[in-house]
Amino acid sequence: MSTATLDKQEPKDATGSAAVELITATFRIRRFNPEVSAEASWEDFQVEIDPKERVLDALHKIKWELDGTLTFRRSCAHGICGSDAMRINGRNRLACKTLIKDISPEKPITVEAIKGMTVLKDLVVDMEPFFQAYRDVMPFLITSGNEPTRERLQTAEDRERFDDTTKCILCAACTSSCPVFWNDGQYFGPAAIVNAHRFIFDSRDEGGEQRLEILNDKDGVWRCRTTFNCTDACPRGIEVTKAIQEVKRALITRRF
């Protein structure tokens, strides 16, 4: 065998041993079901669980073993589909990307729907206004003239310019963490601006001026007060506030 080999190595931390130490954690969940009551209320569930598991695993355990009526959205379970943004211990996160050990499980863990959106049942909110704001910024490539035969050319640097904002999974963690959005649901919100940024700064796109005009609106980028909640909340690590600032700057300089 010509290839160099590694020293024998066991993985660190999470995976060392097959033996799992379970803990008992309390999940304090904000329940709401208008078929049952017009009022929302908190309900506690005790769950015996491996602390290296995800909050989503705990929610599944509750739903599957304790209370089948607990309702939440989820799909991929590893942070790429954007279904399970929720407010965990007062912070917006994806339930599938938050490990129980990282959120002080010795104390009750609070779980509630993301804020600023209409709660439909338990952790499920009405996503329609959120997607409408997204659609309103014309989130698609706008070009003019004849299409080239092959691909449009783009330098690696030009591609890098908007790389960060292509990561968005439309989970709404940013928008629903924004105090401006909480107080004014008309505000486009960070996610829509991020997706406008993704096209405004794409060298192939010719719709930048139109999008900037949309965001120059009274409910557009100028509402942003750079609280940085959105940047903290983004499960994809997008520098959301920076993207919003870049859009503001483009509006002033008309250079992008």
Partner: protein, 584 residues
């Protein structure tokens, strides 16, 4: 009950469904029904790339790609379809770029390409750079780009509408498509969608395995609906296990990690793939690599205290390369395992990944009622379908390609069919079956629980229908599944409400998984040979004399109401490539 009327109805809003919708919306009045939101679909979890012989970085051509696809599928691929896939790949990628997809770029500004398993230059000489990619989130970028273009085209979506039945009407003795019946998750209301053409694009069925890269929602809904309406399912015994899932969790770590130079190692640090695939090594096809990993584990060279996994080693790659080309999967290792891939190898094991089989279609996406007869107005594309371009084992990057090539084809064909044909009259009480199904499930007072049956199903599938199979394990699986199906009749849900009843939804999904798991195990039991992803320890060789043919499984209901599975077979389309021994 509400009744809607559209020319074309598409079931599913992942890559195939939205690619179809972009075409059909331009040509016909179209509705897209999805049980999720479009951007939640599992296309978004695909990472490594989309194959096309663009030859942007080195010599390549679609004929080599065709050959690799056929060889990768262990000669069970329909060769006419593979040729279409490889030829149309080039325009498919260019179309996506023009729609705005941010591919990684070469220094010349063209689309960059990288290596991937089973893709070779000149019929197996050496790995070739054929995968067009956007970092390690190519599927995410395809899903976003297609959704963006659906917004641009004004595609009409019905989000969180779960399709539970296919309506067929008889016209002059021919069964034709009449529409679908859907359950609206938000309200519990039943909707009938009358349609001239229906396209199933509802994805895979990977949740009947426990260790799986698939989303919770991938429960074979389209396959199960078609199957219950008497349509066959093709090649269901062929299921792909991706070599590199995160140990015990099954979360996908792209083959692109090995395309970028990552190496698989056993507990001795040995690069064991050199033994099994001297030319392609870690980039052999997925079935070969997954079997090699389990061979290492079974022979005592697995890692960890239980010796139940191996390592994916990226530590020799520069951190800048990992950051630029593999940022998501390295973050998964940090988030879920607490491991730093710059310095530590990542524990992995094969994970249930992709159904090669599904609803049989021809190259236009038309669904087949038997080996040759088309169901007028019915189409399928993507993982739900079996064209068959993947045969017994799909090559990496060929599924993002499949959804674009055949999604587009199905979208055009369905809309053109709708333009030329009339609505088929809806059957009397079109929603009766669905209403009955939903009410029975909601009102059932049995003592069985969804979670227990699902867990037992996943455990038996992992133990008996995974990478290595024998007569004995498959018989065990068939018997266990039959018993679980019996228990399922007594399953009850706790949520009796109408609003967002995901308790009920999961119960219905479980019924689909049980039906499809049974078809998978029965089809596998009857295939007494080893080919691609189907490996029988008791029949370790490929048997082209008796088994170079597609399995076609039909649901039969006897006069006494007893259900059974009837297996038939369909010839493989062979054009220019004769089966050869498969080596990597």
């Amino acid at each position: 009950m509400k009744i809607h009327k559209y020319d074309t109805v598409i079931v599913g809003a992942g890559g195939a469904g939205m690619r179809a919708a972009i075409e059909s919306t331009k040509r016909s009045r179209t509705a897209v029904l999805t049980k999720l939101y479009p951007t939640r679909s599992h296309t978004g979890a695909a990472q490594g790339g989309m194959a096309a012989a663009l030859a942007n970085v080195e010599e390549d051509n679609w004929e080599w790609h065709t050959f690799d696809t056929i060889k990768g599928g262990d000669y069970l691929v329909d060769q006419d379809a593979a040729e279409i896939l490889a030829k149309e790949a080039i325009d498919s990628v260019l179309d996506l770029e023009k729609m705005g997809l941010p591919f990684n770029r070469t220094p010349d500004g063209t689309i960059d390409q990288r290596r991937f398993g089973g893709h070779s230059r000149n019929h197996g000489e050496a790995p070739v750079r054929r995968s067009c990619y956007a970092s390690d989130r190519t599927g995410h970028m395809i899903l976003q780009t297609l959704y963006q273009n659906c917004v641009k085209e004004g595609v009409e979506f019905y989000n969180e509408f779960y399709v539970l039945d296919l309506l067929l009407g008889e016209v002059d003795g021919v069964r034709k498509t009449a529409g679908v019946v859907a359950y609206e998750l938000a309200t519990g209301e039943i909707h009938v969608f009358q349609a001239k053409a229906v396209i199933f694009a509802s994805g895979g069925t990977g949740k009947f395995f426990k260790v799986s890269s698939n989303a919770h929602t991938l429960t074979g809904d389209g396959q199960a609906v078609a199957y219950r309406r008497g349509l066959p399912l093709e090649d269901m015994e062929f299921f792909q296990f991706h070599p590199t899932g995160i140990w015990r969790m099954g979360i996908l770590l792209t083959e692109g990690a090995r395309g970028e130079g990552g190496i698989l190692r056993n507990k001795d640090g040995e690069r064991f793939m050199e033994k099994y695939a001297p030319v392609m090594k870690d980039l052999a096809s997925r079935d070969v690599v997954s079997r090699s990993i389990y061979t290492e584990i079974r022979e005592g060279r697995g890692c960890g205290p239980d010796g139940d996994h191996v390592f994916l080693d990226l530590t020799h790659l520069p951190p800048e390369q990992l950051d630029a080309k593999l940022p998501d999967i390295t973050e998964f290792a940090r988030t879920y395992l607490g491991i730093e891939p710059y310095t530590d190898p990542i524990p992995i094991q094969p994970t249930a990944h992709y159904a090669m089989g599904g609803i049989p279609t021809n190259v236009l996406g038309e669904v087949l009622a038997d080996n040759t007869t088309v169901v007028p107005g019915l189409y399928a594309a993507g993982e739900v379908a079996c064209v068959s371009v993947h045969g017994a084992n799909r090559l990496g990057t060929n599924s993002l390609l499949d959804i674009n090539v055949f999604g587009r084809r199905a979208g055009i064909a369905a809309a053109e069919y709708a333009a030329k044909n009339d609505f088929v009259e809806l059957p009397e009480s079109p929603a009766a079956q669905v209403v009955g199904q939903v009410e029975r499930m909601r009102d059932n007072t049995g003592t069985e629980r969804v979670t227990e049956i699902r867990k037992a199903l996943q455990e038996t599938m992992d133990a008996n229908v995974m990478v290595f199979r024998t007569e004995q394990t498959l018989k065990t699986a068939v018997e266990t599944i039959a018993a679980l199906r019996e228990r399922y009749l007594h399953v009850s849900v706790q949520d009796k409400g109408k609003r967002f009843n995901t308790d009920l939804l999961e119960a219905i999904e479980l019924g689909n998984l049980l039906d499809l798991a049974e078809v998978t195990a029965v089809s596998a039991l009857a295939r007494k040979e080893s080919r691609g992803g189907h490996y029988r320890e008791d029949y370790p060789n490929r048997d082209d004399v008796n088994f170079m043919r597609h399995t076609m499984a039909y649901r039969e209901v006897g006069e006494d109401g007893v259900e059974s599975i009837r297996l038939d077979y369909k010839p493989v389309v062979t054009t220019r490539y004769q089966p050869m021994e498969r080596k990597y």
